[in-house]
């Protein structure tokens, strides 16, 4: 298109022709003024000459005719008159001869010469009225008296001049001038054309031939050659500079257009142009694509296309914003609106634009803008609003940190839980604030590793508070990644689980301790027994497991009631705890059965004193209100290690069997388990350690 437009229009005038015509016109104009001047001056000159001629002729004739009149040589002076008339080309010369008048008895004798219509001179005829009329209408007339030698008047001579001669002369002048103008104009024009061609047009032709070979965009491919003459050289250099600039500009513009195209394409932006006055509108393909159509499907396209697709509620709002922009209240128009997709759902678009040309009276003419599909953003905003609500109103403390660990934000629950204000923690290092008290057992590494591999860590964590205290929390740390997979933020969410911990402790107590005596129950005993076995195995020392059953407890219980029995059990439990070492464990299995674990023993001998003390303290009298009661205890002891090895359950059963043997032997004594004794008593079923034997208390 550009290449075509750069070709010279055949109807365009030729510079050479135009310049030549202009020069010829200028030359003709100058010469025309010159001709007018010459004509005017020549006219004045000729009139003056004519008058001078007339004056001189009159003087000459009056002087020369006089002697002929005096001599009555009429013919002679007539010849003189004829000669003078013809010589000076007068229209007419008329002589009134008073002397001849006397001869002919008339006032004067008239003779003369008159120019005829054929151009010849004929004698003047006094009686010809037409001739006299012509004389009266002569262009110029002058008369002189003819005086005789003694001064008396002899007659008068009149000369009539016609403007025909003048016109003829002026016509000749005009013709000469025209010829001169023609010749000079022709010569000057030819010279100027030659000069122009030589010094100016030839250079232009060179430039022309250089710029004819141009690219599709109409820009010459070759540089304009250098020229000898300064002005043309300057022009050539300027054109070359301009061409370079244009090429550079075009390359830049091409890049910019490509960028713009890429931007529009890359950002999937719909574009629109709107002639506000006519309603004529142009969309790009993406505009239609946003709403699920092709441009062809939207034909005929006008501003109504937009109005028909836009949500009525949004259209009204957008119109308001548009009018504000038209009135200059807004620097540009921007409106988020819903448009009906071809499938029927609504698509959110960001409609932006501005008026780029205005009419003289300030009315908008052309407006340009874009459409961007912001449905996803709108959805994200919605989600973000929800998240913001969660952030704001959650009961859990939430900390947002950067990938580098700088705290970006905390919610109000955080400040309520920790006592830190928002200002205390924002822009502080998360690690410095919250991590110093992290457990030093690889906990931090485990957290970071989990975040790295799984993107989340969850666990319990003691959160330090502003006042130096801490509370247990159930904490979740999540890494928020961008689309590239790089960590952008960390979100830490923690809930105060202090009350849960308290409940847990209570439950643990209920599960592991005997509610009456506060001694470890069967469950805890089982754990400790297994632990003690493993420790004895590891440390290669001796563990004694003592199974203890009170003698006579049923009688007291039946005699004094369950409360008294319970009280007795509590008191005995206290006594046993006091008798034993800290590392020893005494547990109540139920009823009046207890188990004592004696770890870290060197052998059986070291165990026996303890057993004796137990028998002694248990058999000591006990005050129950107003009553003093006394019971005894039967103890069965099994030792670990054994060969072959045994487990905890076996150990406890062995101790139970030994206690049974002690009961059989008369109560109030202890017995160590041995294999030979075991067979005798093996008929007794072994009670599982974890079972409930509360109902099997025996005396």
């Amino acid at each position: 298109m550009m290449g075509a437009s750069n070709r010279p229009n055949r109807s365009a005038p030729s510079l050479l022709t135009r310049v030549t015509l202009a020069m010829i016109a200028a030359i003709l104009l100058v010469f025309a003024f010159h001709a007018i001047y010459v004509y005017s001056s020549q006219r004045a000159e000729h009139i003056a000459e004519m008058r001078l001629d007339v004056s001189e002729s009159l003087e000459r004739l009056s002087k020369n005719i006089a002697p002929f009149i005096e001599a009555y040589s009429v013919n002679e002076y007539e010849k003189l008159v004829a000669t003078e008339t013809a010589l000076k080309q007068h229209f007419a010369v008329v002589v009134q001869d008073y002397e001849m008048g006397e001869v002919t008895n008339t006032p004067y004798y008239v003779s003369g010469q008159v120019l005829t219509e054929t151009g010849d001179y004929a004698p003047y005829r006094e009686q010809d009225p037409e001739l006299n009329q012509r004389l009266r209408q002569a262009f110029y007339t002058d008369t002189a008296s003819i005086l005789g030698s003694n001064g008396e008047p002899l007659g008068q001579v009149s000369i009539y001049t016609s403007d025909e001669a003048l016109i003829g002369k002026l016509n000749r002048v005009l013709l000469e001038e025209l010829l001169i103008i023609f010749v000079l104009a022709l010569t000057l024009s030819l010279l100027l054309i030659a000069v122009l061609r030589r010094y100016f047009l030839r250079s232009i032709m060179h430039i022309d031939s250089a710029i004819k070979n141009c690219d599709s965009g109409g820009i010459p491919l070759e540089r304009i050659p250098d020229f000898q003459y300064r002005e043309i050289a300057l022009l050539s250099n300027t054109i070359n500079t301009m061409l370079d600039s244009i090429r550079e500009s075009r390359a830049r513009r091409k890049i910019e257009r490509l960028r713009l195209y890429n931007t529009i394409t890359g950002t999937r932006t719909g574009t629109w142009e709107w002639n506000v006055s006519t309603g004529e509108t142009v969309f790009n393909e993406r505009w239609a694509e946003i709403v699920g159509y092709s441009l062809e499907e939207l034909e005929p396209i006008s501003i109504d296309t937009w109005m028909n697709l836009a949500h009525p509620d949004d259209l009204q709002r957008c119109d308001g914003l548009l009018n504000k922009h038209f009135r200059g209240e807004l620097p540009y128009y921007e409106c988020e609106a819903r448009m009906r997709h071809k499938d029927g759902h609504w698509v959110w678009v960001l409609d932006r634009g501005s008026v780029l040309s205005w009419s003289e009276d300030g009315q908008p003419l052309m407006m340009y803008g874009t459409h961007q599909d912001i449905s996803e953003r709108k959805e994200a905003e919605s989600r973000l609003a929800m998240a913001a609500g969660v952030f704001k109103y959650a009961r859990e403390g939430i900390i947002l940190t950067s990938a580098q660990g700088v705290i970006l934000d905390v919610n109000s629950a955080f400040t309520a839980l920790t006592g830190y204000t928002h200002g205390d923690v924002v822009n502080q290092n998360y690690r410095r604030l919250l991590v110093p008290d992290l457990r030093g057992d690889g906990f931090e590494g485990a957290v970071l590793n989990s975040l790295k591999e799984q993107g989340v860590w969850s666990g319990e964590y003691w959160v330090p508070c502003h006042d130096g205290s801490a509370f247990p929390s159930l904490m979740t740390i999540a890494a928020a990644r961008n689309n590239a997979g790089d960590i952008q933020h960390y979100v830490t969410l923690f809930a105060d689980i202090s009350h849960l911990k308290q409940n847990e402790d209570k439950l643990r107590l209920i599960a592991h301790y005997d509610s009456l005596t506060g001694l470890p129950n069967r469950v805890l005993l089982s754990e400790r027994l297994r632990h003690a076995v493993s420790m004895a195995r590891r440390h290669e020392d001796v563990l004694a497991v003592v199974f203890l059953d009170l003698d006579g407890f049923k009688l007291i219980n039946d005699t004094y009631g369950h409360a008294a029995g319970d009280e007795l059990l509590i008191a005995l439990a206290r006594r046993m705890q006091k008798t034993l070492r800290d590392c020893d464990t005494v547990a109540r299995l139920g009823g009046d059965e207890f188990v004592v674990l004696l770890p870290d023993l060197s052998g059986r001998r070291e165990c026996e004193p303890v057993l004796d003390r137990l028998l002694a303290t248990l058999s000591s009298p006990i005050s129950l209100g107003d009553q003093i009661v006394q019971v005894s205890a039967s103890l069965g002891v099994s030792l670990y290690p054994q060969n072959p090895d045994v487990d905890a359950d076996i150990l406890l059963r062995q101790a139970d069997m030994a206690m049974y043997q002690a009961k059989q032997r008369g109560k109030g004594q202890y017995r160590f388990f041995s294999e030979k004794n075991a067979k005798a008593i093996d008929r007794r079923p072994l009670q599982p350690l974890t079972g409930d034997r509360s109902g099997e208390i025996s005396g």
Binding site: A71, Y72, V74, V103
Partner: protein
């Protein structure tokens, strides 16, 4: 000429009035006006000069009066007829007379000087041309030509002496007029060239018959004025009677020398000297 006119007019039955202007232009014009005013049928004009004739012809023409010009021509042609002497023929014949005389004397090598009437006059011009043609044909050189202006004795005398002084070989002087012949004879005589330089004249004077006879004049070209007057009246008569007349009529000039004097004497007496009318 007037005698010839009267003679012929009387014969033809016309009343004739003859006026002499006495070579006065005003008088000539006054007489013309007078004649016109008297209602004459025609005018026979021998003008004072050809120029004056033009005005007279114009006045006559205004009154439709025919004019026949006689002897001296007119500067215009609005006349009925012009009767003149054949000056060219007369001068040629006269040149022949002089040439034969010089030949007889063995003076062919000598030159001839000319004292001419004004050459602007048609008759002067014709006389010179005719004479020179004759000399040229005879191989006789011309010494020089001097033009008269006031026709005075003194003028002719001085011209003659000048020619004699400037041309040692001068053998003849041709005087184109007749009335100042004595000045030329006196100059020749006083220069001591009498018998050595001949004199020849145009036109005639009554004494020329004798001068030619006694050899003082080689010859003379004699016009015929009486005949001219008669011819003028005849021409006017013919015109008034409606006949066609010749515009120009030439009368011969008689080349009179001592050889043909006797023969031509009767013609001379009638047509040149007008002795017919006297009878």
């Amino acid at each position: 000429m007037a005698d010839g006119i009267r003679h012929k007019a009387q014969k033809l039955g016309y009343n004739i009035s003859v006026y002499s202007a006495d070579n006065q232009a005003r008088h000539e014009l006054e007489l013309t006006v007078k004649a016109i005013n008297e209602g004459v049928q025609g005018i026979i004009l021998s003008p004072t000069n050809s120029s004056a004739a033009v005005t007279i012809l114009k006045l006559a023409q205004r009154n439709d009066i025919p004019v026949v010009i006689s002897d001296i021509g007119a500067g215009a042609e609005n006349y009925v007829s012009y009767i003149e002497s054949d000056n060219d023929q007369g001068a040629y014949d006269l040149g022949g007379v002089l040439a034969s005389t010089l030949s007889e004397k063995g003076w062919q090598d000598g030159s001839v000087g000319i004292i001419a009437i004004p050459q602007k006059r048609a008759n002067g011009k014709a006389r010179t041309e005719g004479f020179l043609r004759a000399l040229e044909e005879q191989g006789i050189r011309t010494a020089g030509i001097l033009q008269q202006s006031d026709f005075s004795y003194r003028e002719t005398y001085e011209f003659s002496r000048t020619l004699i002084a400037q041309n040692p070989d001068l053998r003849a002087i041709w005087l184109q007029g007749s009335d100042r012949y004595q000045a030329a004879l006196d100059a020749i005589s006083e220069e001591g060239k009498e018998g050595d330089i001949l004199l020849i004249c145009f036109d005639a004077e009554p004494e020329f018959v004798e001068l030619i006879a006694n050899g003082q004049l080689v010859g003379a070209g004699m016009q015929q004025p009486f005949l001219m007057g008669e011819t003028a009246v005849e021409t006017m008569d013919l015109y008034l009677n409606g006949h066609k007349v010749e515009k120009i009529q030439q009368l011969s000039v008689l080349p009179v020398s001592s050889q043909n004097l006797k023969q031509l004497l009767p013609v001379i007496n009638r047509n040149v000297l007008g002795k017919e009318a006297a009878r």
